[in-house]
Amino acid sequence: MSLLRAILAHPSGRIGGVIVGVYLLIALLGLLGMTPHDPLMQFRVDRLHAPDAVYWMGTDLFGRDVASRLMLGISQSFVVAFASVALAATAGTVLGLAAAWFGKGWDGLIMRVMDVLLAFPAILLALLIIAVVGPGTWTSVAAIAIVYTPIFTRVVRGPALSLKTRDFVDAARTFGSSRHYILTRHLMLNLVAPLTVQVTLALAWALLTEAGLSFLGLGTQPPASSLGLMLSDSRNLIEMAPWLLIFPGLAIMIGILGFNLLGDALRDILDPKMRRAAA
């Protein structure tokens, strides 16, 4: 709880935290179907209707309510982002810890495989995976997770390597503490902070990638809603119906901004280097 208080005391943490909180609420409402209108319902008489009291953010080419589709899109993006980051963080933590702990051959093998994955521009690797499996929501999850795994592996391996040489781990060795004890109590417990920061920043990035893939038509498939898809659909209607661009564009930008701000704040709060400077 002291972490929550620290976030709220941090200027960008406060803004980021509020944004993320509001988005989580929207995503939850979207998932529960509590939207102003049925997001799939086509109000044919009200096609490309400008925003008003009934359609808060207007309607699209098929007469569907933009606000409702936006809420659904946010939940969709969040599901993909959280699922893929959870997968990547788990895989990266296991691989990074293994590489750092076993060292030598294992380290070399794991890190070379990660180098191979990192040799692809992120979106290209995602495209390749989609080429193999075919487009869809869960393909996006897998693709984003695979792209982000090497990054988590590095984020874990670096600090784990330096923790391994810290005096308190040496001390544990002189007592004869078990490998399990050292890994969980001395390494994992101290990795929670850098991982939290990285998870937050990764969520921002995952939202961005999911939107990009959907924008290209390779992520979420219509008629389901997604922010990227909405933007893609708005392309030829910019002049006629700018609300189709403005609202989803702002929604995605502010969402990513929220996670980035929160991530920055968490880094300030959790980074031991910063804390030492303040003490």
Binding site: R166, D170, A171, A172, T174, F175, S177, R185, N190, V192
Partner: protein, 581 residues
């Protein structure tokens, strides 16, 4: 005549409201040309902040001079108040009239510029020299600080030189434009004691040559005895006492000065050695620890195929034994192999060969791990995310025990013994000071009733007055639990207070071993003599050292190299020195 520097009622604060967060509170002093003032104090006393305020570098560290004047008499006779001077005027004075050297030579030089570029810069800024002229001037500056082969060293980058060499380069840079004042902020704290002696000798010599004034910041009052004319003692941002060197050292007025002079270990050439123990002859009990032929070598590889080309002989055939209740100090400088010896005994480093045997503590029951260790850095040796009860329980759990009432009882008993409050169990390491943390580490090492505790530079990271208290605690615990200590340290003054016996390690080998008093008062091996001569002491007033540019021999040996069998010369009942060829 007006003094060179006159500081009046200096106040320095930090943060958004500097006046409310003052680190220096009303310091005043005068310094004449050619005079040396030593500012002595512990960490947090404001001594470095005072120094950095004089050339106003404090502005860049978040500090602000809130009150007071710093009057500097300039070369042309005019007087400028540095506390109020604009930045433009200050850049002319920094480097030109006031030079400065710092504590960490390794990080104080720019890693991407060559030594030559960094010295030439001063000549360019203050003398307008460029090109070949600047290079020639830089070479002369290096010659002046007695760096051999100066012309070639100009092209080196900092990481290619040792700490001692880098501090010489720093001095050369600071003195390049003949400043009339040199501020030296703990310039030898990060260096080995023999290197420290060299730097002090160099500073003394340069001071004579150039007639500059100097402000010397240090925590070690013994160090300034050889160089200072005046001493100012600082505590909590205030100058509690100042005066001529002899007056302050011989008749200290303020209780804090007396405390610094009395409670803090000063080297006394064996006179302060412990006399509470004498090796029984013949031995009455089996030794707590025996080490025979301990050798640790690290492979050196080279080439594309990482072929093994040689070995670093970090520890090369070390033998000793340690009796219950006895302290053996292993002393040596960096690279001597003293820490590697300690780590090898604890199994943190795999010895290449050699044997050691530890015997269980006979006075205490339930001994489960005969050798335990306390590390140098109390901030790094406690997991910041674990509570003290988990930290103290770890050795017990590792030894297959469980968190029983008995374990908790031992925790509270040990906490009380090391002088920590009982509610410490529920707290985290960051809630404790450095000294308290080291007490925690000691308590943790005693959880399993060891017979031997290896103390690797265990008090080196602590402030001097905290050091004294932890040393007292260690002596008490030794008597109470019958512990044998293997005390690894570079600090001769500390060693003198705790050791019964001393082993001097040089380049991986013991060169002298024996009774502490005997070794410290009558060293026999040439290295031990050099080491002891280099230790600063308040008794050695106005004494300078001869310059000596010997380098430590390389520890890298070709494959298959074996050192010669040591020949020992005996000097008295318990004092051996290696014969020198």
């Amino acid at each position: 005549m007006t003094p060179l520097l006159s500081v009046r009622d200096l106040h320095v604060g930090f943060g958004r409201d500097p006046a409310a967060h003052e680190i220096v509170r009303g310091v005043s002093f005068d310094l004449d040309a050619g005079e040396t003032l030593a500012i002595v104090g512990e960490s947090g006393s404001g001594k470095s902040v005072t120094a950095l305020s004089i050339n106003r570098l404090i502005d860049f560290g978040g500090g602000r001079i809130t009150r007071g004047a710093i009057d500097l008499r300039r070369a042309d006779g005019g007087v400028i108040d540095l506390a109020a001077a604009p930045e433009r005027a200050l850049t002319k004075i920094r480097g030109g009239e006031i030079g400065m050297i710092f504590q960490e030579p390794m990080t104080s030089l720019n890693p991407v510029l060559t030594i030559g570029e960094q010295i030439e810069e001063s000549f360019r800024l203050h003398r307008g020299l460029t090109g070949r002229q600047a290079t020639a001037a830089a070479k002369d500056a290096l010659d002046r600080v007695r760096i051999p082969d100066a012309a070639r060293r100009l092209k080196y980058t900092p990481h290619q030189l040792s700490g001692g060499m880098l501090q010489r380069v720093m001095i050369a840079t600071a003195l390049s434009c003949n400043p009339r004042l040199l501020i030296a902020d703990e310039p030898t704290t990060a260096l080995d004691v023999t290197v420290q002696a060299q730097i002090m000798a160099l500073l003394a010599e340069l001071k004579r040559e150039t007639g500059m004034a100097m402000i010397f910041i240090t925590h070690d009052i013994g160090l300034v005895a050889g160089i200072a004319d005046k001493v100012m003692v600082m505590q909590a941002g205030e100058a509690v006492e100042q005066g001529a060197l002899d007056a302050v050292l011989d008749t200290p007025q303020h209780p804090y000065t007396r405390h610094l002079l009395g409670a803090v270990p000063h080297f006394e050439a064996g006179r302060a050695a412990r006399s509470d123990y004498r090796r029984p002859e013949p031995p009455v009990a089996p030794p707590a620890l025996t080490v025979e032929g301990l050798t640790v070598r690290f492979p050196v590889t080279g080439g594309l195929l990482r072929r093994r080309t040689g070995n670093v002989h970090a520890v090369d055939g070390v033998d000793f034994d340690l009796m219950p209740g006895e302290t053996l100090a292993i002393v040596g400088e960096s690279g001597s192999g003293k820490s590697t010896t300690a780590r090898a005994i604890l199994g943190l480093v795999q010895p290449t060969r050699g044997a050691f045997a530890a015997n269980a503590n006979t006075r205490e029951s339930g001994n489960r791990a005969p050798v335990q260790m306390v590390f140098q850095n109390p901030y790094a040796s406690l997991n910041p995310r674990l509570r003290v009860d988990s930290i103290l329980a770890e050795p017990v759990i590792a030894a297959g025990g469980r968190l029983s009432a008995e374990t908790t009882a031992r925790m509270t008993m040990l906490l009380e013994r090391v002088g920590l409050p009982l509610d410490s169990l529920q707290r985290y390491p960051h809630e404790f000071s450095g000294g308290q943390r080291q007490r925690l580490c000691i308590a943790r090492a005693l959880m399993l009733n060891p017979s031997v505790v290896v103390l690797d530079e265990a008090v080196s990271a602590l402030d001097v007055s905290v050091q004294a208290k932890v040393l007292e605690l260690l002596v008490d615990l030794q008597k109470e639990f019958g512990l044998a200590y293997l005390f690894v340290s570079h600090d001769m003054a500390v060693v003198e207070r705790i050791a019964h016996r001393i082993a001097v390690l040089y380049a991986g080998q013991i060169v002298e071993i024996g009774d502490a008093r005997s070794v410290l008062s009558a060293p026999r091996h040439s290295y031990t003599k050099q080491l002891i001569a280099a230790v600063p002491s308040i008794d050695r007033r106005h004494e300078t050292f001869a310059l000596d540019l010997r380098q430590v021999p390389s520890l890298i040996r070709p494959l298959g190299f074996e050192p010669e069998e040591a020949a020992w010369q005996r000097f008295g009942a318990d004092h051996l020195a290696r014969a020198e060829g």
